[in-house]
Amino acid sequence: MLHIRFNLNGKDVDADIHEGTRAIDLLRDTFELTGTKESCGQGECGSCTILLDDEAIHSCLLLAAQMEGCRVVTIEGLEKEGELDALQQAFLDAGAIQCGYCTPGMIMAAKGLLLHNPAPTAEEIRDAMAGNLCRCTGYKKIGEAVSLAADRQRN
């Protein structure tokens, strides 16, 4: 067993884990943050994307132990005082959600992009989101939602 401490959605937390526990399992099962979804479990679909020290990464490829001392943000951490994050609102407004299973991963991948690049081009958006699969929407509206959020955040 290992004892780890990290910052989760703005709060300092700690947990006892097995060496082999994956980050996604700790987040979903122990912290009950089930917004983060697992689909492929091997880094190919992006539905488990979270922010680790402001980088969008796959929580299915991350061991919980690797979160030690880091700042972790999941989809649940975006809303501030009852206000949706600009990305969440833009996904709703642009109609970029159908079944919603891919949406938390899409939004976290986009969040990672906007933190590094507040004014991305359409191509930069496609590149940052290329590792996120959606079985419903066809991606066009997802790209538009990210642009819309970027525009609103800058104005």
């Binding site: 060496e19 082999g20 994307t49 061991l63």
Partner: protein, 264 residues
């Protein structure tokens, strides 16, 4: 660094863990709870890209993203910046390291054709020794290296010719993100002529001397001859993604394309 080396030396079964994008899925297939890992994430001193004494030095913990975006790499070995930009998806590139890519030693690893064509060396460290080996010799087989269990890869060094290494990296995948290379070729030109190295075309990434001799001595490279040389020197497999013949065609065509682009 010395703490990580102590941990590895003290436990003969411990494995180094960089970002874990190769290792975590592998461990999951085995009984992961018993794995003992030495997390290298805190080794910030191995996350660097430097140019010193005519050598490009890239620390093992440098990420694909930082290499792809590095002005130094773009100037001195642009093919490597391009290769790193082709790895996985943004989520993978922002975290996964060159050290993990090299030590995992996949025949399809995207950094290896460029590094091997540029005659890169691996610098390794154990508690007692610091060694420098030619990367082509460091990689010994499919996903195996000559690195002893108690050692770490510290950095990759590449001698940069006057004006930098010219040339590019060519890779065929299925779609843009998340497909490993079906066939990949680096065609580079340094002060001693053209170098060509091949990925996904056999158990290890390797240069072909006969191709290099031909490219350096012919007046104009012929695709048909490059196809024969590929057939004689490479041993790709046929699998669900591509046949052996198709991989050989692609490798020969990429070599020809690389040669033509160098001539322009």
């Amino acid at each position: 660094m010395s703490q990580a080396l102590d941990c590895l030396a003290a436990d003969g079964e411990a494995l180094p863990l960089a970002a874990g994008t190769d290792l975590v899925p592998v461990l999951r297939d085995r009984a992961m709870d018993r794995a003992r890992l030495v997390d290298l994430h805190g080794l910030k001193e191995l996350d660097y890209i430097r140019f010193e004494d005519g050598m490009l030095r890239i620390g093992a913990m440098a990420t694909h993203q930082s290499i792809a975006a590095s002005d130094k790499v773009k100037e001195m070995l642009p093919a490597l910046a391009h290769a790193c930009s082709q790895v996985g998806s943004a989520q993978i590139r922002r975290r996964a390291t060159i050290g993990g890519n090299v030590c995992h030693a996949s025949p399809a690893a995207d950094t290896l054709p460029v590094l091997i064509a540029a005659e890169a060396c691996a610098v390794t460290r154990s508690k007692e020794f610091r060694k420098t080996v030619l990367l082509e010799q460091f990689i010994t087989g499919v996903k195996t290296t000559s690195l002893p269990q108690d050692s770490l890869l510290e950095e990759i060094i590449i001698l940069i010719p006057e004006g930098g290494w010219k040339g590019n990296y060519y890779r065929l995948g299925g779609r843009n993100a998340l497909t490993i290379a079906i066939s990949s070729v680096a065609v580079l030109k340094g002060s001693r002529g053209i170098r060509a190295a091949y990925g996904s075309m056999g158990p290890t990434v390797k240069r072909i001397g006969a191709v290099e001799e031909y490219l350096n001595s012919c007046r104009e490279a012929k695709r048909s001859i490059l196809r024969v040389l590929a057939e004689q020197n490479l041993s790709p497999i046929s699998d669900i993604r591509a046949t052996r013949e198709y991989r050989l065609d692609v490798a020969a065509n990429f070599t020809w394309l690389g040669y033509r682009e160098l001539a322009e």
